[in-house]
Each structure stands twice: as C-alpha cells, then as structure tokens.
Amino acid sequence: MTADSTPRLRTRDGALTRELLREPAGHGIGQVPARTRPDAITAMVCGYCSTGCSLDIHLKDGRAVNLTPTTRYPVNLGMACPKGWEALAVLDAPDRATVPLLRQDNGKLEPVGWDVALSAFTDRMKAVQAEHGPESVAFLSTGQIPTEEMALLGALAKFGMGMVHGDGNTRQCMATSVVAYKESFGFDAPPYTYADFEQSDVIVLIGSNLTVAHPIMWERIAKNRNDPRVIVIDPRRTETAMAATHHIPLAPKSDLVLLYGLAHLLIEGDLLDEAFIDSNTSGFAEVRRAMKRYRPAMVADETGISVETLIDLAQMIGRGERVSFWWTMGVNQSHEGVRTAQAIINLALMTGNIGRAGTGANSITGQCNAMGSRLFSNTTGLLGGRDFTNPDHRQRVAHDLGIGVERIPAQGSMSYDRIVEGIHRGTIKGLWVIATNSAHSWINQREIRGLFERLEFLVVQDMYTTTETAELADLVLPAAGWGEKEGTFINSERRIGVIKKVKKAPGQALADFYIFKLLADAWGCGDLFEQWSDPEAVFAILARLSAGQPCDFSGVTDHVEVEERGGVQWPFPSALAGTVPEPERRLFADGRFYTPDGRARFVVDQPTAPMEQTDERYPLVLLTGRGSSSQWHTGTRTSKSAVLTSLAPRGPYVEMNPDDARENGIEPHRWVLVRSRRGTLRARAFVTPTVPAGSIFVPMHDEAANRLTFPAYDPHSRQPSYKHCAVSIEPVGAGPNASL
C-alpha cells in the first residue's frame, strides 16, 4: 500500500500526468502549465470593472493563451478577481456575433455582408431622420469600450450624423457621482488614489460591497498597516460588512438622514476642521443651520441605528487622523443619490479629510471605462468634460477637431430615461445601442422591451448575439471585444491604462472603432474623421482636447508611454511631460478646487421618501445588487465561463430574512414568487439573517430583477433608483424541494 511496495506496477508518468505538467514561464512569472507556456508576455488592463487591474497576457506566436495578474502595477499588485482571471475564456463563446445580422421581412435575423449592413444602417437611420427630424435618432453608449472608441462614437453621432441625443449605460452607475462632484468640486473629479486605502486610519464604506464588487480594492485595505477602523454602512450584512470592524445596518434608503445626523454630531461635538472650512470651502453656514434638526434621537428613529452607535461613529470620523469615505451603487442608485453623495463630501470637507494621504470623499466607479465615458463619450457632456451649452467650449472643440462649430449641438443630450421616454412619446424613432444590454439592465424592464419594439429601427452593436437587447434588434453589428482591439480605459482613480489586441476576433466581427469608421464613410461624413485614423491617433486628439481642463493629460504622447509609466493618472499636463511623478497621486493637495472661486461647495437638501412605499399588499423592500464576484452585470460575458458560472448560484434566488420567511410560510430553498406592481419574478428562497427583516435581495444578474424595479430617478442625475421598491413574496409549488 505504501509507495514502495509495488513500484513497478505503478505508472508515475505518461500522457495523463503530463497534462498537468508545469514549467517555468520566465518573464518574471513562475511555473505555468507547460501546454500554455508563453514565448512573450504583454500587459494590459482588465475589461470588467473600474478597478483597472493590469493582467499579464501570456502570448504564444502573438496569441493570448493564458494570463496572470501583473505584479508590478500600482493598482492590483499581482492580484485579480475571478472575472479578471477568466477574461480571455469568454472570448471563445459560441454565441459570439461573427457576422452582421439584418432582420428580414419574415421577422428573422439573417446574416448579411458588412456592405449590406452599412447601407441598411445609413439608409434606415437617414430615412427616420428625414421623416421625423435629426433628433429622432439617438444612441446609447457604454462604459465598456475604450475612450478612443466612445469618443469617435460620440463625435460621429453628433458631429457627423446630426444626432442630438445620446447617453450611456454609465447613467445607471455613475451619473450621481458626476453631478455631485461637479457641483461640489467644480469638476467630475474623484480625488483619490488607491494608496489612500492603505493610508487611512478610518475607512467608511457607504453602499459598497467592496469585497465582492471590487475585491482588488479590498486587497488594498487588507494591506493597510494602521489597523484601520473599517465602517460599512449597508442594510445587508454583506461579505464586506463581515470583514469590517463596524457594520451599520441602517434601514434601506435612510442614508441621507444618517449622514446628516453624523454632520449634526460633528458640528455639535466641535469635531470640525474650522481652518479648512474657512479657507477652502463655501456654504458651510447653511450646513450649520440645516443640520440642526438632525438630532440623534430623530436620526436613530429613522435609520434604526442607536444613538450610542451614532455618537461612536461621529467620534471615529471626527477624531480620525486620516478618514476616507468611499461610496458605490448603494448611494448612486438612489432617488436622492446626488444629495447623499454630497452629504458624504460634506463630511470629508468639514473634517478636512481631503487632499491628504488616506482621506477623501471617494466615489468608486463601476465599469472599466466609466471614467473615460464621463469625460469623452460626448453624450450629455461635450468632449473633455465640457458643456454643449457653453459657446467657448464648442468653439474650442471645433477648433481642435478642425470642424465647423455649427456641427456641434448647442444643447445637451437627453438622459437615458428621457430617451426612453422619447421612444414612448414617439419623438425617438431610431436607436443605436452599443455594448450595453438595456433590455435586461434598464429599470422597469417590461416597459423598455415594449418600447424597443415600437422603434422604427433598432441597431445593436455587441460581441454576442444572445443579449436580451440584441434579440430585439433590426440590425446586429458584430463587435470585437476586449483583447481583440486597442485603446485605453480610465479607472476609478483616474488612471489611464492600455488594452491591446492579443486575440483574433471571430468571423467578421470588427473593433467598434472600425465599425464607427466604416459607418462614417457609409454615412458620407468620413472626411470629418480623417485624423481619427486609429485608436492611437485618437488618443493624441483627446490628449490635445484635454489640455487646460482638470483632466488634462496632454503630457502623455501615446499608448506605449502610458504603458511604460505603469498607467497615467490625470492630471498629467504637458508641464509634467518627461518627468517621473509619484506613481499614485491624489487631487486637491493645495486645497484649491475646480469651482470658479476655487472653494469646494457644501450642498445640502431636504431628504425625501422613496417614491414607492411599502404597504399592506407589497410589504417588503426589494434591494438589488451584485450577486457574486464572478458575475458581471447582465452576464453576457461572465456567463460564458464555466469556472465563473460554477462560482455563482445555479439558478434564480432571492435572499430573505428568517423572520419574513416564517411570516410568509416560506421554507428555505422553496420556490417563491416575488411580485411588484410591475411584474413578477420566480426564484428559490435563500433564507439568511444577512438580509434585514422587511427587505429581500435579488441579484441584478437575474434577468427578471428589473421586471420588479420601480422607475424612480434622482432628480439631479437622472440615475435610476434600483435599490428600493415595494414587493410581496409568496411560496409556490408543493414542498420544500418542489420542482415546478
């Protein structure tokens, strides 16, 4: 039985053993599978979330065969989340779009050549515009494609095709932060760098399940040597709440009251940085006055957080040396998200926690290039973080691009929800959707699917033919994905990173960049974009356009330099060209902000109740959010990896508190029906105390989640409020394991 007793009869080597043979990879990477041992390595940033990790792509004959996270990159320090590890695997999915598809008279999508697809696009869109006016065609952009591509898209649509309205899926994740920052700081400028995670002594996470949604940012908190107090403000006891030192399980959507309550305690307790307030901010007198009514007893009553806890919290924030505040979708996707984000900014400002190491009022972005989209998508803002309604801005852009200023619309675009409303009212008749899956992700889904069917022409440009939106399209344009094209992303900490072409796109799929170029030619406006010859040329154009703006990166010449510098954080003005600044830089060290008077603005408002309240028929609050670290949004990519799929729950599920389960006669794992006034969802009940009584949680990856959600929007950012609507829940089927 031991190793030695029957040595000759035991086969220790052979073809099967060699399947798992590992060999040194060289290139500073240890052992790797022998079958995929690389002959070269090249680094590029990941294409999922805004963390912006760098991945070393293992190349064999120029083709990607495997990857490992890059050790020497200031973002991820050799780590990646499951999605990053599996980034290449999802490119080989069988449902990749490989050829343009055009809906025929028989109602079916049939393959056509690119020439047919291009003329279909131009003929049909022009016909719509001819009949209903140029504004009747709109586009929905994305935070998933490189800055160069989204800038070309925005410029082509607005300056070339005469569209006025275009917005991005970033409306669903970041609009709130954009508006909050613009108003408070004078520019959409997340001030931090990830090193701040390591340097804080108090870290406050608000509406952020960081360990699951941004695991590599949590890695940076884990590297913090100050034994920081980590405070997680979230109704659910998430993985992040578990990892924190303090969890504040506030009542859903009581965050603004809680933050105002903390401001009240800071003011009352004289825990303010008066010097900073006096010299670097404006509007504090109003804060002082408005915060008076947020007395602890009242706040405790509304939030469910005890007075002692509130006082403890205020003390930690007020007495901390380096306090950083971080928020994500729990704040952004709210009916009053902008004011909530600004309440966080207020706390940082009044305690002087900004511009120093380990501080900041920091919005963590969602998508890999949401930050690029915020500056260069040319949708609701003009290229370079500018304003369409500002004649100087239009003049500057026209000059830099060498186009007539009359080509630039003098009005801003309608936001996503208003474009959807435009379809409803019949003013939008043609829609072009790029790299987003509205029919799954948009709030109140049943409405948007119906509306898409009403469009005269719907074009979907995507990597996959099976997204819920592509299936509704009249024309599907097959797009190359991350790994199959070039460009740059900007991550959450304003760092520009490069992506490269390391895999061949399937069939006739083309980089979105090429598709835009072909469409420009087909439309007849190709000459406007002669200078936009390839992504790198566009990078130079955008760098030039950024000059003089807070997001100035005109000090960088090309993609190679971006890579050599380990990514480049804006601002990187031409004054810095040739220098080697700190690899991790934050904003506002000098206390000067981008407002006209250079002072940060305090903004306060009246908290309001969520639009849809619970009642007898719909007694529970529906919370939605990230299900697991292996899932990304609507799953068009992550559902194509067997490993990622194995790390996510197998079927639809709804998390609910044992008390609610008991009350509604629901046994664990039983099939249930969740109803809202707008639709129903069928799932298995996962009974867990981590969800507070009175609420249930459904992951946003479930295609049915947005059948339930209520179309409420933040009035300032027009961001949908995904985190609050009223639902009921009931068991269906016969027994605990009843299969329907």
């Binding site: 060289g26 500073g28 050829v99 578990m242 006739q508 083309l510 292996s630």
Partner: protein
Amino acid sequence: MTDATLTAGQGLLVEESVFAPSVASPGMGGDDTLTPIDLYLRSQQELTAVDRFSRLHDDDASSHLQPAQARYYQDLIPLGPPGEGQQYAFSVDLDSCTGCKSCVTACHSLNGLDEGESFRSAGLLIGARDRSDGVGDGLEPWQQTVTTACHHCIDPACLKGCPVDAYEKDPVTGIVRHLDDQCIGCSYCTLTCPYEVPRYNARLGIVRKCDMCSDRLAVGEAPACVQGCPTHAISVEVIDRSTALAALVDQPGVALVPNAPPSSLTLPTTSYRSLRPMPAQAVAGDHHSLRPSHSHLPLAVMLVLTQVSVGAFVADLMLRAVASDVFAATIRPYAAAGALIVAVLALGASTFHLGRPLHAWRAVLGLGHSWLSREIVTFSVFAAAAAAYAGAVWRSLSPALVTILGSFVVISGVAGVLCSAMIYAVTGRRWWRLAVTAPKFVLTAAATGPALALTLGGFALAVSPTGAGAVEGGALRSAVPLLGVIVLATVAKLALEGVVLLHLRDATFTDERRTAILLTDDLRTLSVRRVTAALIGGVVLPLVLVGLWSEPVTSTTTLPWSLVLLSITLGLLVAGELAERRCFFSAVSAPRMPGALS
C-alpha cells in the same frame, strides 16, 4: 473579390490566408483594389501587441531569478521542507477571506485545468452570533466563505479506497498525490473522500485532484491558490503530525468548520483559523438545497446482476434440498449456465463504469486495503468458479466435484456481495451504512435469485424430454418454497427501504431526511416504479404461481403459463431492483464541506 469573400464568409470564420501579412494596414495606404471593409477585416486579424510594445517584453524577458510575485507570497510558504514527523498543510485565515473566490480561478488558470475544472472550491456558512464589534448587544447575522481544496489527510480515504494504488502520500511532504497515469477511472475515491476532493474528468477518463502544487513548492514558489489570494488568506505551513493526531483521533465532534464531515474519518490537515467567534449553529449555503447525485447506471446494473447471479446459485442449492430430484437435476445445468451468463453480464457492465477499462487488471493492487479491489477480485474468482461449476454440471462430472465447485461458487459469491456492501459502508454516508446496505444487497439476491432459477427451471422442464413427466409428478409444486422466499424477501426489502421515509418528519435537515425528500420528490417516479415492480413481480405474481401450482397441473397448460408468469416475475423483479439501486446512488446524502448558495 470583395463581395465574393463577404458572401462566402457569412457566418463563418474568415480564413486567415485571405489576409497576407505583407499588406499594409488601413490608414497607411495599401492595395487600391481592397475596400475599407476588407482592410479593416484584415487589420482586425493582425495581432499587434508584441510588435508595438516590444521594448517592454525585452525588459520583462531579461529574466528574473525569482518570480516577481514572490515578494507577496514568500511569507506564506515554509522556508524549507518538513522534518521527521511533520508535513505540509494548508492554512486558511477565515478572518481575511472575504469571498472573492479568486483562489478557485487562480487554481484553474495556473494549473491549466479543463473548462470548469478547479481543485479548489468555495462554500458558504451562514448563521448568527453574539455581537463582536462592541456596538450594541444581541445576535448579529454572520456569514463566512470557506475555501477548500485537498486536505492532504493523515489517513487519506482516497488512498485507502483506491483499488489500483493510484494515490500516494509523499513520505517527506505529506502531500497526497494522485498518479494520473495509474488511475483506471473507477471514481471510487470520489465516494470515499468525505470532502469531494477527487473529481472525475470525463475527457481523460480519470479523476484528478490538488497536489498542493508540489513542484511549485519544491522550487520555492507558492501554490496557485496562495499566489492568487488578494488578502493572503491561504498559506502553506509545516505541521507536526502528532499534534494533529492528538487533536483529531477519537474526537468525533471535531470538524474543520461547522457542517464539515467529522475529521476523525480521514484526519485532514488543513487548519481554518479565526479570532472571531464562529456560531456552532451555522449552516452551509447549500444546506437546504437537494439535488440527486450521480446514479452510476453501470454500477447499479453490476450490483443487481451479481446479486441475481449469486442468488440463483444459492437457489439452485436450495432446490436440491426442497425440490424433487428429477426437477433439481433437470434444472441444474440451465440454472448454472444462466446464472453464469448473468454474472458475466454483470462484470461486463462494471467495465462501463471505468474511465480506462483496459487497465482494470490493476485492481488487484489494492487488495490489502481497498474493498473495491476485494470486490473485483472476489467476483472474478466467483465468475471463474461459476464457469468451472457450469462446465462440470454440463459435462456431468463427478457429483463430489460438482458439490465442491458449487459450494465454492456460493461462498465466493456471497463474499462478493458482502464486499459490495462494504464498498459503500465505508464511505461514511448514513444511508449506506452496513446495517442497511448488507441486508439490502442480500435481499436482492434472495428475491431475484430464486426467480432466475425457477424461470430457467421452467425452461429446462419445457425442453427436457423428462420434463413433462416431472411436471405431472409435482415438480413445480415442490418448488413452492422458493416462491415463498421471493415473497418474503421482497416484502422484507420493501420494508427495509421504507424505513428511511420515516425521516421525512425529522425536525432538522438530517442526511436521512434529505434522502427521504429526494426519494419522494425528485426521484418520485423512479420510486413509484420501483415499488410497483416489486409488488407485482415479487408478491402478486409469485402468489398467483403458488395458486397455479397448488392445483392439479398438466404439462401442456400449466408449464407454458408458469413459464410466462415466471419470466414476467423475473423481469419485474430485476427492473425493480435496478430502480432501487439507482435510487441508492441518487438519493444518498454525502458528507461534504459547506457548499455555496445554489
């Protein structure tokens, strides 16, 4: 060319050869005959990363003696190999693990595993505990991700169960290694390991498992999961086996984490550490989720048919005791041949269960420790003895020899059936414990064996020249006791199988309750068929036959009817036992590490 290419290329991959690498890319001028579409399609297929960023590759290639990542993991692996009485072990800091599951994907990617394959998995525990943050009091909700891989046990059940010695425990490192080329793909280790560590790989026809990246450790590199954990929650440490033994041996209550199998089964070496209290009442994320397990059809067939065969040989012996001599003598050659054929079919079916049947001979290697090995060897002896016995009977060799061979067949057959029961009894599954499984297997033999013997006997009477006389002389009636055996065995077996259903009323989700729910829910159809087949084949028809044979019999009418009814009885009984055996595999609740929400 343009249009033709595009038409031809619709829905197909564009041929690489269409795009000669010598032609310039768009924007740089180029062949005038190509349209922009052609140029972009061609450019799309050109991989440029190496050329454009070549300087950086050269830098990287200027070779480092140590992997760059070592700076982050060097503190997470031991400085040197274990000493005497020590071994390597995984250590998991639960307080640092936040559920990102990167370890699972790192294992998959860094080890070049097949699609969906990983040697590490991540489960979930949920519960409530006393508040730990000093803010307020009372219970607070609690959850904990539990990452798990091979625990490189001190007493590995995979190794003990393996019939071909495809496992070894490295004498120096203590790592439990699987010898992939030695494996015959019997999957038995997937049943003996209480942690679901070995997993069958259908492409290769073998199981594979974690070897703690032993060749990485040998050169000072960390295992893939250790390298890939963003919060450094997984490490490798050197442990003293004696310390581990003291903590685990004869400590039935000890488990790696709540809901894990008792550590006393295999003495696992992984340590899960937490400074924070862990609620004892925690349940696994998949605690309430029930899915039928693999039904192992070839095994079910093999088990039932070996038991039918052994039962038939025993019935043949019984017939000699109770039936008329003529009848017994007429039956014997047919019963022996028929039972032999069934035995051969059974062994044939078992090879379909093997991923690499050509290497099945290796199963003799594990005789010293593996019940599977013992079963295979015993049934091989049984088959050989049965063949010799059948030959002796057909050739009418000396009665003494026939008797000796016959006894040997029965002894080896019964031993084989008991080995079968032991195979499952040692896996630690409640429902497979010996007290239930051995009677089940024996009763299968008791119910089906006489049916086979009688059916063949009826056939023998029909074709034998002396058959008609024997029938008239009461041969059939003399076999009534065997019908009684069928009925009693069937009723006893149904009762035995029904006991588990009493657990439907268990207050908690016990293993038996899971089994009972599966039997009455997911496997309801199979269960109903099983009971119906047994009641008709094992009770109703045998009683009809008893009635038939108690009347005055004639060879012209009674015998054909008997033959038809006996055939149906046999068919229904075997079908019913096959259904029962599929339930046996499908409805069992296995010990395992906490699973994820499912």
